[in-house]
């Protein structure tokens, strides 16, 4: 009985989470020659709707028609950059907030949380004007900074929660041993916080990897354009290129999925501490 209900539950979750995505996968391996929109594709009944001759041609065409590799590289650079920036400033800041009492601590944290609530659309034009005057348009630095508006506050919250679960005794012991504050941070606290950092880092990476709005406005040359912009063109294009678009979608999603798979366990424990305090 238990085995059956476990199986049922797993199946339900798998179908719910993966079925639509599987549809994209099937579309990506279906030959483009005669798009047949009168027959909806469905992953569950693969016997009927699986293409008669699956092909990898769409993936081929993707790299041929669009500088996919360049966009991929750009996405990787910008996402890693934002992740690193967010983690560094958030860790330093979180440590400062949690372990010190200083004037303006409360109001400062409140201001940061409030700034986090501003919708991106409000910041678009001001950021554009600011970036222009500092020559940050069409640069990796510019994109990384823009994405940090979304990711740094969340990372800060996560790390604040995480650090506050760490016992002070360890740090106090280190300081008695002659370690300075900065040394304590790097040698004791950070290594203990790897799960939290992984959690924050992964979310920052995903958010940046998938972000469209900032990339659209701040990256106008192929040199710095990121993957979501490819999706945009296909979303407006005609059904005849559905297969190639699907291939692009799969390749955009895969790297992040792999990252998640690799760091699953650490992510879990990182989140546990990062969200418990609530």
């Amino acid at each position: 009985m238990r085995r059956a209900s476990l199986l049922l539950g797993s199946a339900a979750i798998l179908v719910f989470s993966l079925a639509p995505f599987l549809w994209i996968f099937i579309a990506s391996i279906t030959p483009e020659i005669k798009p047949d929109l009168s027959r909806p594709w469905l992953s569950v009944r693969t016997v009927e709707y699986f293409p008669a001759r699956p092909t990898l041609q769409n993936y081929y065409d993707l790299f041929k028609n669009v500088p996919f590799a360049v966009y991929f590289r750009n996405s990787a650079i910008v996402a890693s950059g934002t992740m690193t920036l967010a983690l560094v400033v958030a860790s330093l800041g979180a440590y400062g907030f949690v372990r010190f009492k200083f004037r303006g601590r409360g109001p400062l944290l409140l201001t940061m949380l409030m700034a986090y609530m501003i919708p991106s659309v409000v910041l678009l034009v001001p950021l554009l004007v600011i970036f222009r005057s500092y020559g940050l348009i069409n640069t990796y630095q510019g994109l990384i900074l823009a994405e940090a508006t979304n990711t740094a506050p969340f990372a800060l919250l996560l790390m604040i929660n995480y650090f506050s679960t760490l016992p002070r005794e360890l740090e106090e012991a280190a300081q008695v041993d002659g370690c300075g504050r900065l040394g304590t941070l790097f040698r004791i606290v950070i290594p203990l916080s790897i799960p939290g950092l992984v959690a924050g880092g992964l979310f920052a990476f995903i958010a940046t990897w998938n972000n469209f709005l900032f990339a659209f406005l701040f990256a106008t040359t192929d040199r710095v354009k990121t993957l979501p912009l490819i999706m945009r063109l296909f979303a407006l294009g005609e059904p005849a290129v559905w297969g190639v678009s699907a291939a692009g979608a799969i390749l955009t999603t895969l790297p992040v999925a792999l990252l998640f798979l690799l760091f699953q366990r650490m992510l879990m424990s990182g989140l546990a501490a990062g969200a418990v305090k609530g």
Binding site: L37, S38, N65, V66, L124, V125, L128, V129, F131, R132, S133, I137, N138, F216, L217, T220, T221, D222, K225, L229, I230, R232, L233, F234, L236, G237, E238, P239, A240, V241, V244
Partner: protein, 429 residues
């Protein structure tokens, strides 16, 4: 003695210098084979933003730009063509406001006046006036290039997009009908060809402004002026209301438009035509390559329907423009000429399904042989545009779409719709 040596040395120096100068002259010729060289002889970099309807169209821009970059060694153009036409237009304005506009932009006739009025566009007139290719342009196109009479030539279009009525010739034949010429015939034909649930009489676009754009020539042929130079608006007149009532009636009363019209855009409409689920569709000639490939001789075209005697056929030129913040305007003009001539011009006309704007290019027999082009060319005398250059036109175009959907869903009356559109044209909303 001294003089000799000096003079020999001097002679050697002179010979040496001459030799170096000569070698330098030889070596400074660019390594690549040259056609008629460009006027600009420095290394110049230009950015060019245009739109891409689909990856095929995108490749056309990529190829044309590559041709330009390879054909001469001085000017390098960097291309950005990844979004749809409205998005590119918005992005250009936003970038200009932030000071990061491209050097060369792209525009359709609809927005030319707006770009000019707001100082974004640099009129191409100073170059066009001296260009020997200017006589090759059709006179009515040059008129459009000025946007308003009396203005300088603003941009250099390389193609013109006419709108036609596509129809299923096999279904028409089966029902023993002629292709419709007047508006009433058109409504009637849609009704007769309508076979629910799977065959609609007409593929109606309701999701955005372009659903109205195809009705505008019908309004035009009914004598509606929309808004004239003095600002007088007749868009809420009884004639305008009557045209719209019949159009909306296709969806609400006759049910001869597809039930999904309210949220349908190009991909959905094209899918309907391709899957043989709709009998007629008004759209630009650029859809004909795919429609022809899908349906062959079953798909034919006629001019768009008219209300009174004189038809109006929507035909919009489009092409590159020089942005006012561009620092290398001569180089930009060279690029514009390249895009409007020779192979690129052929790509953007023949390849894309648009008509040429130059006599020399339209002399190519392919434009007479292709049945879609033929119909469009034959009605060249009725090519028409709504008053794009009026200062409130963009306001109407940007804001009217939700009201169209509300009208189709009968949440507001057609009269209320026309009144709202008129308000927008007066700048009151």
């Amino acid at each position: 003695m001294k003089d000799h040596r000096i003079s020999r040395r001097r002679a050697l120096c002179l010979i040496g210098t001459a030799g170096v100068a000569g070698a330098g002259a030889l070596l400074s010729r660019p390594a690549r084979p040259q056609g008629p060289g460009p006027a600009v002889r420095r290394r110049v970099k230009l950015t060019y933003w245009t739109w891409a309807d689909n990856p095929v169209h995108q490749k056309m821009s990529v190829d044309a730009v590559e041709m330009f970059n390879k054909a001469q060694g001085f000017i390098t153009v960097e291309l950005d063509a990844t979004a749809a036409v409205m998005e590119v237009m918005k992005k250009t304005v936003v970038a200009f406001a932030a000071g990061s506009a491209p050097d060369v932009g792209s525009t359709v006739q609809t927005h030319v006046q707006e770009f000019y009025d707001n100082g974004i566009l640099h009129p191409a007139d100073e170059f066009f006036g001296k260009w020997d290719g200017r006589g090759d342009y059709f006179p009515n196109v040059v008129e459009a290039m000025r946007s308003k009479p009396g203005q300088p030539v603003l941009y250099l279009p390389n193609a013109i997009l006419p709108y036609v009525l596509y129809y299923r010739a096999d279904w028409l034949e089966e029902a023993k009908l002629k292709p419709p010429a007047t508006y009433d015939e058109f409504i009637e034909t849609a009704r007769k060809l309508n076979k629910p649930p799977d065959h609609s009489g007409y593929a109606l676009r309701g999701a955005d402004y372009y659903g109205l754009q195809v009705i505008e020539p019908i309004w035009g042929s009914a004598g509606v002026k929309f808004v004239d130079e003095s600002g007088k608006v007749d868009f809420d007149s009884p004639e305008a209301v009557s045209v719209m009532e019949k159009w909306v009636g296709m969806f609400t009363k006759d049910k001869s438009a597809q039930p999904t019209a309210v949220s349908d855009r190009y991909p959905q409409l094209f899918a309907l035509m391709q899957a043989s689920k709709a009998a007629m569709w008004i759209y630009g000639t650029h859809a004909h390559p795919q429609l022809d490939a899908a349906l062959g001789s079953k798909i034919q075209v006629v001019p768009t329907p008219r209300v009174k005697d004189k038809p109006c056929m929507l035909a919009n030129p489009e092409g590159p423009m020089i942005i006012s913040s561009c620092k290398e305007k001569e180089a930009a003009w060279e690029f514009l000429v390249h895009m409007a001539s020779g192979q690129p011009a052929r790509i953007f006309t023949q390849g894309r399904g648009l008509l040429p704007v130059r006599k020399s290019i339209s002399a190519d027999p392919v434009f007479e042989q292709n049945r879609f082009f033929k119909v469009a060319i034959a009605s060249a005398s009725s090519w028409w545009r709504p008053p794009f250059s009026h200062k409130h036109w963009a306001n109407y175009q940007d804001k009217i779409a939700p009201y169209l959907q509300q009208t189709l869903r009968q949440e507001i009356s057609v009269k209320a719709f026309q009144a709202q559109a008129a308000k927008l044209l007066r700048g009151e909303a």
